[in-house]
C-alpha cells in the first residue's frame, strides 16, 4: 500500500534516477554555459540550458525538494529573460549561473546522503539570480547585509569540496547503456542457455567425469550470467505506477471524492520496454477508475460503503504471463447506460441493443469515441482513450478484459505475455511428445497407480486428500497418439490456472529446466493451449503449454465460490453454469445434484455396512458415516426396513454430503458423469426435487438436497414423537 507523497524504498529508485540525470544535466550545463559565454548569440545552446534547468525544476517539484526547486526556478526565470532577449549574458550572469550549478550539485549530494534537500534556503543565491534578472531588490525578502560580499563563496566552497570527493557515489556505480545493447546481450544469453542445455544433454549421455565437471561449471556460469543480464533489463512494475497515488489524489481532490490507491505486487518485474509501453494505458485506467468508477462520498455512504473509495492496482505472475489488475470498489459499469449510448452513438437499433450480450456491451467501451459519462470532466469522459489503451496493450502482445458488477466495482485485467523471457518449466512426456509446463502453474506432482483415477466417463476425477480434483488427460486433450488412458505408472501434474485447479495426466516427467520462450508464428496464434515454443536440450523444438488455455479448452470448472461476476467468463458457457454430478438412483432414474454439495464420492462394500435399528452406517476414517438410500428419502411412502442385501449391489455408491461437522452418505445407483450446464429448471416433479431439465439429451431430475435433508429431519422428529407416544 502506498501513501501519497513518498515512501522510502518505493521512491528511492525514482530519486536515484533523478540524481543520475541531474548530475549529467549539470555537467552539460557547465559546458553549455562556457560555450554561451564564448558565443552569447548561440540560441540553441541557450535553449539547451533553459531546458536543463526547467527539467530539474519540474522533477524536484514533483519529488518535493522545495529548496532545490526554488533555486532552479529562480535560475529558470533568469534564463527565460536571456532567451526572450530582454537581457543578455554577461560574465557576471554566467558566473552566477555556474555557481548555481555548483549549489545544485551540493544539494543533490545532500539528497543522496540524507534524502532531503537540507535546511539551507540559499537565500543569497536566489537573491542574486533575481537581481540579475532585473527585479527590484524589494521584490524578494530582504537579503542579509553581507549578501553582496558573499556572492562568490558558494562557488569557492564547492570547488574545494569537489576536489575532495571528486564524484558522487550514485554516478560512480551506474553506467547508462543503450537498450539495444542490452537486447543484443539478452539474445546472446538466450542462445547460450540453449547451447548449455544441449551440452548438459550430451554430457549426461557420456560417462566422462571431466566433461561432466566442465559442463557443470558452464552450467553455473550460464545461470549466473543469464540472471545478471535479465536483471539489467528488468524493472519492478512499481516504476510504472509510482506516480499513481499522487495523480489519483489530485484527481480525487478536483472531483471532491475520497480515493485511496492500494498497490500490491509492485516488485513484480517486467522487461523495461514492456513497462514503458503499459505506463500510459495503466495511468488512463486508474484515472478512469477515480473519475467514473468511484462514486461521490455521499453516494458511497448511501450505498453502505466506506466513503473512501479504493482502487487496487496489483500485479502478479500467472500462467507464464504477468497479469495487472486495476480494480475499483465503485459503482460498476452501468450496462443499461451503455446500451442507451450504443443506440445513440453506434447506429444500433434499440432492439439490437436489447439483444446485445453483456460482453458485447462492455466491448463497446473500447470503441473510439464511446463514453457513457453524462458530462465531460476535465480529466476524462471525452470518449478518447480506452480504444488507445487496448491498442497499446495489444501492440505488445497483451490483452485487456473488463469485468464489472453493478454496485460493486469494475476490474480491468491486463495480461502481458513474457515473450522475451527465460522461465523455469517442467518438461512432461505424453507418448512421444515432450511438452514444457511453466512452473508458475505447478502445484505438485502425484504418481498415480492403475485405478486411482476414477473414470466417470468424460469427467475423470482424482481424490487428492480431501478434494475431488478434475483430471485432464494431456494425450486426450491434445489428440496425441500413444497416451493410453489408464495405463500403469503415470503421473498427475497438479496445476492451477488462475483460481482453478486440475490434474494433468501425463506419461512421464523430465527434470525441471529453464527455457527461452519464443512466440509462436502467426499460423499458430489461434492455438490457445500453447504459450509459445522453445528449443529443448536435445535441439528439438518443444511446445510450452498455456495452462489457462488448456483449462479453458478442457472445460475445467471454476471453483464455485462467490466471485465477482466475470463478464469474460460468461461468454462461452452461457450464464450461471453449474457443475452437476449426474447419477442414477438405485432404481435407475437419472438424477443430478450440484457438485458443490457433494464432498466426496465413495464406494463401500455391502458387508461394511453396520446397522443399528433403522439406521445404517459405515466407518469412515475415524468417524461414522450414516447412510441413507436416496430412494428412501425421496419416496413419500415410508418404507419398512428392508432385509439386508435386498436389491442392493455388492458395492454401495455413496455421495458424501457435509453440513458443518455432520456427514451424510447418500446411497445412489451409480455415478454417471460430471457436467457443466446452466440450470434451467422446469417444474418440480415431486418433493425433494427442485425441478427437471435436459442433461446430455435426457430428462434428469435435479435433487433438492437441502430440502430433502430438511424433510428427513422433520420425519425423524415425527418418528421420535410417534414412538414416544406409542411408548406412553
Amino acid at each position: 500500500m502506498e501513501e501519497v507523497k513518498y515512501v522510502p524504498g518505493e521512491m528511492d529508485e525514482i530519486v536515484a534516477e533523478f540524481l543520475v540525470e541531474s548530475y549529467e544535466s549539470l555537467d552539460r550545463l557547465d559546458r553549455d554555459l562556457l560555450e554561451l559565454e564564448r558565443d552569447p548569440n548561440a540560441r540553441d545552446v541557450l535553449a539547451s540550458i533553459f531546458r536543463t534547468m526547467h527539467t530539474i525544476k519540474g522533477t524536484c517539484g514533483f519529488l518535493g525538494f522545495v529548496r532545490l526547486e526554488r533555486i532552479a526556478h529562480a535560475a529558470e526565470s533568469l534564463l527565460a529573460g536571456l532567451r526572450d532577449g530582454s537581457s543578455s549574458i554577461t560574465p557576471q550572469t554566467a558566473g552566477v549561473l555556474l555557481a548555481t550549478g555548483d549549489v545544485l550539485r551540493l544539494i543533490l549530494r545532500q539528497i543522496e546522503e540524507s534524502g532531503t534537500d537540507g535546511e539551507d534556503d540559499h537565500e543569497v543565491l536566489v537573491e542574486q539570480l533575481a537581481r540579475l534578472r532585473g527585479e527590484p531588490p524589494g521584490a524578494r525578502p530582504a537579503a542579509p547585509p553581507a549578501a553582496e560580499a558573499r556572492a562568490a563563496p558558494p562557488h569557492a566552497a564547492v570547488g574545494s569540496r569537489r576536489g575532495a570527493t571528486t564524484r558522487s557515489a550514485v554516478v560512480d556505480t551506474t553506467v547508462r547503456v543503450d537498450v539495444s545493447l542490452l537486447d543484443k546481450l539478452m539474445t546472446l544469453v538466450g542462445e547460450l542457455v540453449l547451447s548449455r542445455n544441449h551440452l548438459v544433454e550430451l554430457s549426461s549421455d557420456r560417462a566422462d567425469p571431466s566433461l561432466a565437471s566442465a559442463t557443470q561449471s558452464v552450467d553455473h556460469i550460464t545461470a549466473e550470467l543469464q540472471e545478471g543480464v535479465m536483471k539489467t533489463r528488468l524493472q519492478p512494475i512499481r516504476t510504472a505506477w509510482g506516480a499513481f497515488p499522487r495523480v489519483a489524489r489530485d484527481l480525487a481532490v478536483a472531483l471532491d471524492k475520497r480515493v485511496r490507491i492500494e498497490t500490491d505486487g509492485g516488485e513484480t518485474e517486467l522487461d523495461r520496454s514492456i513497462i514503458e509501453a503499459i505506463k500510459d494505458p495503466l495511468m488512463h485506467i486508474v484515472r478512469n477508475a477515480v473519475d467514473h468508477g468511484i462514486e461521490e462520498p455521499e453516494m458511497r455512504v448511501a450505498a453502505g460503503k466506506h466513503e473512501e473509495g479504493v482502487v487496487l492496482v496489483r500485479a502478479y505472475h500467472e500462467g507464464g504471463q504477468v497479469t495487472i489488475e486495476v480494480a475499483d470498489d465503485g459503482a460498476g459499469i452501468d450496462l443499461d447506460a451503455v446500451r442507451a449510448k450504443a443506440v445513440e452513438l453506434v447506429s444500433v437499433t434499440p432492439a439490437q441493443a436489447t439483444r446485445m450480450s453483456d460482453r458485447e456491451l462492455v466491448d463497446l467501451l473500447f470503441l473510439a469515441g464511446f463514453s457513457t459519462a453524462d458530462h465531460v470532466t476535465r480529466v476524462s469522459g471525452r470518449g478518447v482513450g480506452m480504444d488507445v489503451v487496448r491498442t497499446n496493450i495489444e501492440r505488445i502482445g497483451g490483452s485487456i478484459d473488463v469485468s464489472s458488477r453493478r454496485g460493486h466495482g469494475t476490474t480491468f485485467k491486463i495480461r502481458i505475455p513474457l515473450t522475451l523471457a527465460i522461465i523455469p518449466v517442467l518438461v512432461v512426456a505424453s507418448g512421444d511428445e515432450r511438452i514444457a509446463i511453466p512452473q508458475a502453474n505447478l502445484l505438485e506432482l502425484v504418481g498415480v497407480g492403475p485405478g486411482s483415477i476414477e473414470a466417470l466417463h468424460e469427467a475423470p476425477v482424482y481424490r487428492l486428500r480431501d478434494r475431488l480434483l478434475p483430471v485432464v488427460s494431456l494425450a486426450q486433450e491434445l489428440g496425441l497418439a500413444g497416451g493410453e488412458e489408464t495405463s500403469v505408472g503415470r503421473f498427475l501434474v497438479v496445476l492451477h490456472a488462475g483460481e482453478r485447479r486440475f490434474g494433468l495426466l501425463v506419461d512421464g516427467l523430465s527434470d525441471p529446466c529453464e527455457i527461452v520462450v519464443e512466440p509462436l508464428g502467426p499460423h499458430l496464434h489461434g492455438l490457445e493451449v500453447f504459450a509459445g515454443a522453445t528449443i529443448l536440450g536435445n535441439g528439438r523444438v518443444g511446445l510450452i503449454l498455456d495452462v489457462v488455455g488448456l483449462a479453458d479448452r478442457a472445460g475445467v470448472l471454476d471453483d464455485v465460490h462467490d466471485q465477482p461476476l466475470d463478464i469474460e467468463g460468461r461468454r462461452e458457457p452461457p450464464r450461471d453454469t453449474r457443475a452437476l454430478l449426474l447419477f442414477a438412483d438405485t432404481a435407475g432414474g437419472r438424477m443430478a445434484v450440484p457438485l458443490e454439495l457433494i464432498d466426496r464420492l465413495e464406494s463401500f462394500p455391502r458387508a461394511a455396512v453396520e446397522r443399528s435399528g433403522l439406521d445404517e452406517a459405515v466407518t469412515f476414517g475415524d468417524r461414522i458415516l450414516p447412510l441413507v438410500p436416496l430412494r428412501d428419502l425421496l419416496d413419500e411412502r415410508r418404507r419398512a426396513p428392508r432385509p439386508a442385501g435386498e436389491d442392493m449391489p455388492a458395492d454401495l455408491q455413496v455421495l458424501v454430503h457435509r453440513r458443518g461437522d455432520d456427514l451424510l452418505g447418500l446411497v445412489v445407483g451409480r455415478v454417471i458423469d460430471i457436467v457443466e450446464q446452466p440450470l434451467q429448471l422446469q417444474g418440480a416433479s415431486r418433493p425433494g426435487v427442485s425441478g427437471t431439465m435436459f442433461l446430455e439429451g435426457r430428462i434428469t431430475e435435479i435433487l433438492d438436497l437441502p430440502g430433502l435433508l430438511e424433510m428427513r429431519e422433520r420425519r425423524r422428529r415425527l418418528d421420535l414423537s410417534a414412538s414416544a407416544r406409542a411408548a406412553s
Binding site: 540453449l194 511428445e433 491434445l478 502467426p522 489461434g526 492455438l527 528449443i535 523444438v541 511446445l543
Partner: protein, 151 residues
C-alpha cells in the same frame, strides 16, 4: 527475365521468386503441433530460430507424403518472419521468360487453384508459380485469418 527457385511437390514442378528464398535445408527434425491446422507440419529449429513448417502437399490439397519420405525445407522470408515450406525435392534456379506465363490452368483443382498464380510453359513441361503469400497463409483461407480447427 525472372529468376525462380524451383522444386517438386507431388510430381508437379513449382517455382517461387528466388529473392524470397532464404535457404534450402535437408530434412529437419519436426516437432508436431497438436491441434494446429493440417497444413502446419510442425516447428523446426533453424539454428536457434523456431520456424513454422508448412507442408505444401497439404496446403495445395495434393496427395499426402508417404511416412518414410522426408521432405526438404525451403525457408522463405515473410513479413511475419521465416517460414519453412516442405517440398519433395529441390531443383535449380531458372531464368524464365515472363512472356511464357499463363494464368492458372483450370485443370488444377482444389486449393491449388487459389495458391498458384499461373504457369510458365517450359520445354516439355509446365512450371507452376506459387503465390507465396497466399500459400504461406497471409491471404489464403488457410492462413492467419483462418479459424483454427478447434476440437
Amino acid at each position: 527475365m525472372k529468376r525462380l527457385a524451383t522444386f517438386t511437390v507431388d510430381g508437379r514442378f513449382l517455382g517461387i521468386d528466388v529473392t524470397r528464398v532464404r535457404e534450402v535445408l535437408r530434412p529437419q527434425a519436426l516437432t508436431r503441433v497438436p491441434l494446429a491446422p493440417p497444413q502446419i507440419a510442425g516447428l523446426v529449429n533453424l539454428r536457434g530460430e523456431i520456424v513454422t513448417a508448412l507442408d505444401l502437399r497439404v496446403a495445395l490439397g495434393w496427395r499426402q507424403r508417404h511416412p518414410g519420405e522426408r521432405p526438404m525445407n525451403v525457408v522463405v522470408t515473410t513479413e511475419h518472419g521465416h517460414v519453412s515450406m516442405l517440398v519433395d525435392a529441390v531443383s535449380d534456379v531458372l531464368e524464365i521468360d515472363e512472356g511464357a506465363f499463363e494464368r492458372t490452368p483450370s485443370t488444377l483443382g482444389g486449393s491449388a487453384g487459389d495458391l498458384i498464380r499461373g504457369a510458365y510453359k517450359l520445354d516439355g513441361r509446365l512450371l507452376l508459380e506459387l503465390d507465396l503469400d497466399a500459400a504461406i497463409g497471409t491471404t489464403s483461407p488457410f492462413g492467419i485469418d483462418a479459424e483454427v480447427d478447434d476440437r
